[in-house]
Symmetry: C2
Subunit: 407 residues, 2 copies
Amino acid sequence: MALIVQKYGGTSVADLAKIHNVAERIIRTYQAGNDVVVVLSAMAGETDRLAAMANAATGDKPTPREYDALIATGEQVTVSLMAMVLNSKGFKAKSLLGSQIRIVTDKNHMAARIQKIDADFILSELGKHRIMIVAGFQGVDRKGNITTLGRGGSDTSAVAIAAAIKADYCETFTDVDGVYTTDPNVYDKARKLKKISYDEMLELSAAGAKVLHQRSVELAKLYNVPLYVRSSFNDDEGTLVTREDEDMEKEVVSGITYDRNQAKVGVIHVPDEPGIAGKLFTPFSERSIIVDMIIQNASVDGYTDLTFTIPKKDIKQVEQLLDVVSREVGAERVHIDPDISKVSVVGLGMKSHSGVASKMFTTLAREGINIQMISTSEIKISCVIGAKYTELAVRVLHDAFAMEIGQ
Amino acid sequence: MALIVQKYGGTSVADLAKIHNVAERIIRTYQAGNDVVVVLSAMAGETDRLAAMANAATGDKPTPREYDALIATGEQVTVSLMAMVLNSKGFKAKSLLGSQIRIVTDKNHMAARIQKIDADFILSELGKHRIMIVAGFQGVDRKGNITTLGRGGSDTSAVAIAAAIKADYCETFTDVDGVYTTDPNVYDKARKLKKISYDEMLELSAAGAKVLHQRSVELAKLYNVPLYVRSSFNDDEGTLVTREDEDMEKEVVSGITYDRNQAKVGVIHVPDEPGIAGKLFTPFSERSIIVDMIIQNASVDGYTDLTFTIPKKDIKQVEQLLDVVSREVGAERVHIDPDISKVSVVGLGMKSHSGVASKMFTTLAREGINIQMISTSEIKISCVIGAKYTELAVRVLHDAFAMEIGQ
C-alpha cells in the first residue's frame, strides 16, 4: 500500500475512449490498496485551440490574466470528465481545480511558480477513501486570480503535489514508455533505461529530450521524489528517475540526445574590451531570449569573435537586436546560421571516467562531421554540428558508447 | 450616469466577431459615463456540446457535482475572451467567475439557488474604473464546489447581481429585440410591447414565452429591478419589464402565448375517495415531473376523472408510473394525448375587466376549435386545444383582442 501521484498527459486523455482507459488504470492502482492522487493535462490539442482563440480575439496580444483564465478551462474539462467516469464505474472520485486544492502561485501569469500547496486538505480528502483528480498546469495567486505554470506545467503540478503530501512516488504517463538511450525515432537501437539520476535527466531535458520538463525534474530532485516515466498505453515498467546510486555510477553514458531548435550566432571581430559581453547580452535577457552555449575566442590583436546559440524561433528578433547592438560594440559583422544541431552525450560516469570527450570527438571526425562549437558540464558534452548530420551523429555516438550505454 | 447590469445570451457571443460587436456595445455604455457589470452566457451550442460529452462519458448518468464543474467552463471561456478583447481595445476590464465574485448558492447541483452575492467586492472593483465581466449561470456552494443554476441561469445571475449592487437597471440582450404580443414567427401582426409588468411577464414565461426565464422575472419583481429586454443585434428600445403602473392597467390584454411542449393525461373512472389525488401525484413530484393544469370532474356515482398536463419529454416515465399507480387507485384506464397545445391570454387588465374569458371561448368556438381544458389565474386564461389548431388560435385571439393589445 502506497501513496501515489499519477500524472497523465494530453495524449492519454485525448478523447472519451482514452479517458475510460486511464480510468481503468486508476481503478487498478486504487484497488491494489493504494491512495491515488491523479493530475491531468488538457485533452491533446485543446490548449492550442484555446490559445489560438485568444490570439485571434486580440491580435496576438491577450491579457496574461485572461489568457490564464481561458486556457485553464482545458484541464477543468478533463478532470471533471474523469471524476464523473470514475463515479459512473462505482468509485468515489472528486475533481479539484488549482483554486480548490489551493495550489498557490506567484502572480506571474502564463509562467507562474508554485509557492504553497495545502497538503492537509489533500490528505484529509484521501482519508475519506476518495480518488482525487487534480487539474494540472493551473494554480491561483494569493488574490484568487487563476494562473498557469507554463511549459511542462502538469508535470510540475504532479511533482509539487507528490512533494507536498510526501507521496511514495510520482508516475508520469505519456505516449512514450520511458526514457531512452536516444530517440527511438532516430535510431532503432535505442534502449529504454530502467533507472536514471535526476542530474542526468536534467541534462537530457536541457539537451533536447522531451519526455519530462526540466522544472519538474528540478523539483523532484529538490524534494527527492522518485519519478516514474511510463506509457499510458501499455504496462511496461518505465524508467525510474531518482537519486544517483552506485549502479548508476558504473555507467559511463546514459544517453545521446539532440536539439534541432537552436541557431548559431557569430558576432565577428569585436574589440576585446571589458564589458562587451554584458553590453551584447543584456538586451537578450531583457527580452527573455535564452542564450545557450557561449564561446569567446582568444583575443588576437585586441579583437575577438563571440559565438552563441539561440532558439530558432527568436532569429528574427535577434537579427533586429544585433543590427543595433553590434554597431554599438564595434563588431565587424554578424552571422546567423540556422542549419545547425546540438548533439549531446550525457552520463554520470563522466565524473570518474576520462576519455568520453575524446571518444566523442574522434567518432564524429571519423564520419567527416565538423564540430562547430563545444560545451561541457560535469556530466554532459555537447557539440554543435551541421543540421544534416544530426541522425548520423546520434547513431554513430550510440554505437560508439554501446558497451557503456543504458544497462 | 447610471449603474447598469448587462446580460448577453449565447447567440450574442456565439463567435469572435459577435464577441467584438458586444465589446463595442459595452464600450459605448461605459463611455457614456456608466458603470457596467456584464454577465455572459456560454457561446451558443457550447453548453449542449459539454453536456453531450458528459452524457456520452457516463451513459447519461454524470455526477451532478462534476457535471457542473464541466459545463461551467463554457462561461469561463466567454468571460475571459470578452475581458481580453476589451483590454486589447484599451479598456480596463476583468473577468470574474462565480467562485471569484463569490456568488454563493445552495449545494443543489444543476439547479442551485443563489443565497448571497458579495456586493461590496463588485462595487469596490467598479470603483477602480473597471468593467466587470461576470460568468453567468454559475456559483459556488459554501464549500467551494462549483454549482450551476439550471435553465435561464444567466438571466438569474444578472438580475441577482443587479439586485445586490442596487443597479439602476438590468438589460438582457438576446436574439429578439423585446417582448411581443405574441410569437412573431407565428403571427406577423405581433407587436413589440414597450412596457410590461413583472406579473404579466411571469405568466407569459410560464405559458411558454421563451424570452426571459421565470426565475429571473421573479427575482426582478422581488427586488424591484427594472429589466430591459433588448436585441444585441440592433439598437431598438426593447421592452421594459417593471412594476405595474396606471398605464398598464388600462390595457386588458398584453399578450397571447402558446406552449406545444405539454401532453394531456386522463386517468378515467377513479373512485372518488379522499387521498386519491395525493396518491396519484406524489410519485410525480418525487421524480420532479412537473404537473401543470389539473382538473377533477364532478363526482358521478362515487367515481371521477382526473385530467392533467405534463411535459412531453416525460411521457415515457409517466406511462410506466401510471401503469402501477392507476391500478393502486383503482382507475379504469389511462389515456395520454401528446397532440395538444396550450394557448394563453395574459393581461393585467383582466383584474378589472370582465368578459375576457368569454371572448376567448367564443373566438375559439367560432373557428371550430374545441377547448379540452381550461385554467385561469388572476391575469391569465389558458386553454388546451388540439395541437394542429395552435397557429390558428394564436392569430384569431390576437385579432380578437387587437384593440386592447400591446399599446
